[in-house]
Amino acid sequence: MRRNAIYGKTFVVAIAVMAMAVLFSCRKEYGTIEPTVTPTPISESGDYTGFYLLCEGNMGSNKATLDYYDYSTGIYSKNIFPKANPSLARELGDVGNDLKIYGEKLYAVINCSHFVEVMDVHSAKHITQISIPNCRYITFSGKYAYVSSYAGPVEMDPNARKGYVAKIDTTTLEVVAECVVGYQPEEMAVAGNKLYVANSGGYMAPNYDNTVSVIDLSQFKVIKTITAGINLHRMAKDRFGNIYVSSRGDYSSIPSKTFVISTATDEVVETLDLLPNSGMAACGDSLYVYSAEWSNALSKNVVTYAIYNTATRNIDSRSLITDGTEQSIRTPYGIAVNPATRDFFIADAKDYVTPGTLYCFSKEGRLKWKVTTGDIPSHIAFTTNPVKLQ
């Protein structure tokens, strides 16, 4: 009986302890996430005060984040948006797909949250959000912003659904017009009074789109459709009036390549079969290109880099990085060049589900510093505006 009582007591005590633990253990609540601050060596910056980096975050995770690098202090601040906007529900949103600065405003295209987040470039404080379903990229001309969207009108076949470009008045921050383009439009470029839109057809694989839509900006109408390669994606412009368009291929038999379109004739003037292209940045007469193409045979991404000379129309170099750092870059996902110093940046998205790394290289291709970013770092926007974060 005594042992019995001991068992009973032990049991009751165990339950009581557990109950107390439950009642008094306080649940660690979510507070506003503070930026993670990392110092880096201070270096020459030209006119630039800093740059913003938009990290996409994996789809469905609501983890698009914004980082800021301050040239004057060398401080890299990771995830600055929540602190700058603590009362804005659910932070920046889901999948940050593009980032640009125009005037005094910072525009982030939040793909799966279906809006463009407009912020004050000086503080990253929320100004407004512009609703555009399935928005992808943004570009500017005059007083307007142009945003590409996959979500055009649904006609007979819901599978063949064109996208459109939304025209936004940057003073009122409202959509003022829409123009239907090709299938699943991606990046755009403005040349003169024309807007070039790369159509991917990504939703219709394997029947990809292969066209560039040319929009006349005065009428805001498609005036020409240029046939290039399948699954078009990124665009960059040189000073000779050429637009470089990347084609992602079909990820198996058709490889990625780059097409050159003359904006004078609105025709493809050259196909650069040997310039696979996942992303590029133009600086002077140099086009910095990286490519990460999946190889089934090797069961890994084959990563290549190149500098293409837009004046001579030749490849100047097949490598950007000269100190061996490329070995540790797994999934390059973004590229940017500081036009003043020619320091360049490569963002490594790694496995997409953990934080990435941003590498800063000198113009000779030697690593200056690297820093941990948000998940899937990709889009960089330099600014000459003074920026003061909280």
């Binding site: 339950i15 557990m18 507070g31 983890k63 999948v95 649904v154 990820y251 999946w294 991404n301």
Partner: protein, 682 residues
């Protein structure tokens, strides 16, 4: 004592242990065990009443009334009360619910319905949210495998196993029919009528028919807030579910054996509420939907031919249809997807048991299965998989010491329409050893240990899904080491009626873990044997039954500690990070009190803090969550005493303190909700 000796005897002859076939009338009264057994004319079946079956490998079971009383919509909710098991729950009644045992991953858990594994060659995951508890007699979880050697080879082939045991018809003396009508309603617009009819056709043949309908709007409000920051409330939409289930069973007894045939139909339509991310409230509606049809016919025969030889035959045919539709005409933001998947499965198994001596038996099991997947995807390769599983096992059983060892051979051959797309055939041997030692004659203290090495095959999606699949994938291997004990004590005529304590410590590894890795861009992922995981853990469970002032109390506590580290890449910044969604600490409490037809059940689930990514940083932090649930029920006996009718009325309140939480990132869970349950047994 009779129970124990009977248990040992049954282990000696290595008859497959089935649980909990006690009658509803007797199931709460431990004093009635003898009657219960006598009611069960199936002589080879033991009754597990209120306690865990005497397994030599770690096992946990919830049976009968205890199971019915838990506030739960489905089997998944009940499994939350087992130590070592984590349910991945996408929220709401319709959200996918899969179980991960000891952090090895959902695809390493075999789910068995009425003795035969539920296959899903397409993605290897069984949605436990689809199995209602309405007709369930027992739910049990085994680490390693069930410690019975007389079983199909498939039962040896997963790292852990969940057994769902539907009700078996049992008739009170003088009865030929059992009819039971149930109805549940409550939050989320729930409507859930159910009907069960059991008929004793002859002394040796019984029939069971059950059907159920369920509808829910799946709507609930949820809140996201930060301390000192935002506070936003929204409603979960497009989470409606409609489902029908019909089940027919025929059960027979032969001389020295028994057989059963079961037909199962399931039909459902559901919406996907999708990830809850920052959006303009109400601007775009999620409209993607899924329709499922499942049918299976399975049969089983267990026959003892002599003292030396018994045979177990199992067979199954299953058809699963899935239609997924995402239509931009309904939701402008979405991509058009209209996919149909059809799976066919055929399965045959023969298991032989040779009882060499009373303490030594040997078994041999051979399984053949065929899985076929059709889909209307671009460039789909239409895979068919032929699997041959052969297991040899032996069991030695002495007074103090028992050991079982098995060796499984798996041979798998895939065929695809396009021969070049086909993965090469695979052949592997995998062993397991389970042992137990009971050092003291009188004290019911048993030490146990097991070792098991097993793999999961890459699924059809892993290998062949258009764009994503990778035919070069290797099997994903797990190795488990476990050491534990179980202690039981029963008391007579005192406050404490009985207690049971069990605890296990374990070390597991997962190698060649199949993970999705990015290829080129966000649209292109591929499957790779990339990950490596090491898991150290402790599972503990404590059960007790008490009686005070005429009130019967029973309680169950569980605790789990897991350190599950990603050890894929030593150079990674996140090396040895806790793997996503695995809490370091978790536990549960169930306390119930019974008094004169009244029953009160309180249950509590605790899941400690965890991270949503192997990068254990603040952005990925998921705070602990814990829910308190309460259920009150009252039994009424109606009609004549000789032929009583029983009415049961129950009220459940779940998540009493309205805690806002997520199990999976961006999939908010419901706050306080209630349910009323009515059940009439005629």
């Amino acid at each position: 004592m009779k129970f124990k000796s009977r248990g040992i005897l049954i282990l000696c002859i290595a008859v497959q242990v089935m649980f909990s076939l006690q009658t509803r009338a007797y199931c709460q009264d431990p004093g009635q065990k003898e009657d219960t057994t006598s009611v069960n004319t199936l002589s080879s079946i033991t009754v597990a009443a209120e306690r865990i079956v005497k397994e030599i490998s770690p096992a946990q079971v919830l049976t009968g009334e205890k199971l019915q009383r838990l506030s739960s919509f489905s089997v998944a909710d009940a499994i939350r009360y087992f130590s070592g098991a984590q349910i991945k729950d996408y929220g709401g009644v319709g959200g996918l619910k899969s179980v991960n045992i000891r952090s090895l991953g959902s695809q390493h858990v075999g789910v068995f319905y009425d003795g035969i594994e539920i296959g899903n060659a397409q993605n290897g995951i069984v949605d436990l949210g689809r199995f209602s508890l309405d007709n369930m007699e027992a739910v049990s979880v085994y680490n390693g495998q069930k410690s019975s050697i007389f079983q199909p080879a498939k039962d040896f082939s997963s790292a852990s196993a969940v057994y769902l045991q539907p009700k078996y018809p049992v008739f009170a003396p003088g009865r030929k029919d059992n009819i039971s009508v149930g109805f549940k309603t409550g939050s989320f617009g729930l409507l859930n009528p159910a009907f069960l009819w059991e008929r004793k056709l002859t002394d040796r043949l019984t029939l069971s028919a059950s059907t159920e309908y369920m509808y829910t709007t799946g709507r609930y409000r949820f809140t996201y807030s930060t301390k000192g920051g935002y506070d936003t409330t929204a409603t979960r939409r497009n989470g409606d579910v409609r489902m029908e289930r019909v089940e027919l069973g025929l059960f027979g007894i032969t001389d020295g054996g028994h057989w059963k045939v079961k037909a199962y139909f399931y039909d459902s339509e559901r919406g996907y509420p999708g990830a809850s991310v920052r959006e303009e409230p109400g601007k775009f509606r999620h409209q993607d939907r899924q329709w499922d049809d499942s049918f299976f016919l399975q049969a089983s025969l267990k026959q003892k031919f002599s003292q030396r030889y018994s045979l177990l035959l199992n067979g199954k045919y299953a058809y699963d249809f899935l239609h997924y539709l995402s239509d931009p005409r309904e939701d402008v933001t979405t991509m058009y997807i209209n996919s149909h998947f059809r799976q066919n499965e055929g399965y045959l198994s023969a298991a032989h048991l040779f009882t060499v001596t009373p303490w030594w038996s040997v078994s041999l099991s051979d399984d053949i299965s065929l899985n076929k997947l059709n889909a209307d995807l671009a460039d789909f390769v239409y895979p068919t998989r032929y699997s041959f599983l052969n297991a040899i096992a032996t069991s030695l059983s002495f007074e103090k010491f028992k050991i079982q060892a098995s060796l499984l051979h798996t041979y798998v051959k895939d065929r695809t329409k396009l021969e070049s797309a086909q993965a090469s055939s695979r052949s592997r041997f995998t062993p397991s050893v389970v042992a137990s030692y009971r050092p003291f004659g009188k004290t019911d203290l048993t030490f146990r240990a097991f070792y098991k090495r097993i793999f999961r095959l890459p699924t059809f999606n892993d290998l062949y899904y258009t764009f994503v699949g990778n035919k070069y994938l290797k099997p994903e291997f797990t190795t488990q080491y476990d050491l534990g004990f179980v202690y039981r004590k029963e008391f007579r005529g005192s406050f404490v009626k009985g207690i049971e304590a069990q605890a296990d410590a374990y070390y597991n590894t997962v190698k060649d873990k199949i993970v999705a890795l990015p290829a080129s861009n966000q649209f292109r992922w591929t499957m790779l044997n990339f990950g490596k995981v090491e898991i150290l853990g402790i599972d503990a469970a404590l059960q007790g039954a008490f009686n005070a002032c005429g009130i019967d109390f029973s309680s169950r506590l569980t605790y789990t500690y897991q350190k599950a580290m990603d050890v894929t890449d030593k150079t990674s910044q996140w090396y040895k990070g806790q793997i996503p969604y695995i809490p370091w600490h978790s536990g549960s409490v169930i306390v119930s009190a019974d008094y004169r037809g009244w029953a009160l059940t309180y249950s509590f689930i605790y899941t400690g803090e965890r991270y949503e990514s192997v990068a254990n940083i603040v952005e990925n932090y998921a705070p602990a969550w814990y829910t308190h649930d309460m259920a009150v029920s009252r039994d009424f006996i109606l009609g004549r005493k000789s032929l009583p009718k029983r009415l049961k009325v129950a009220l459940e309140i779940n998540n009493i303190f309205n805690q806002q939480y997520e199990v999976v990132q961006c999939y908010p869970m419901p706050g306080t909700n209630f349910k009323i349950r009515l059940r009439l047994d005629l």
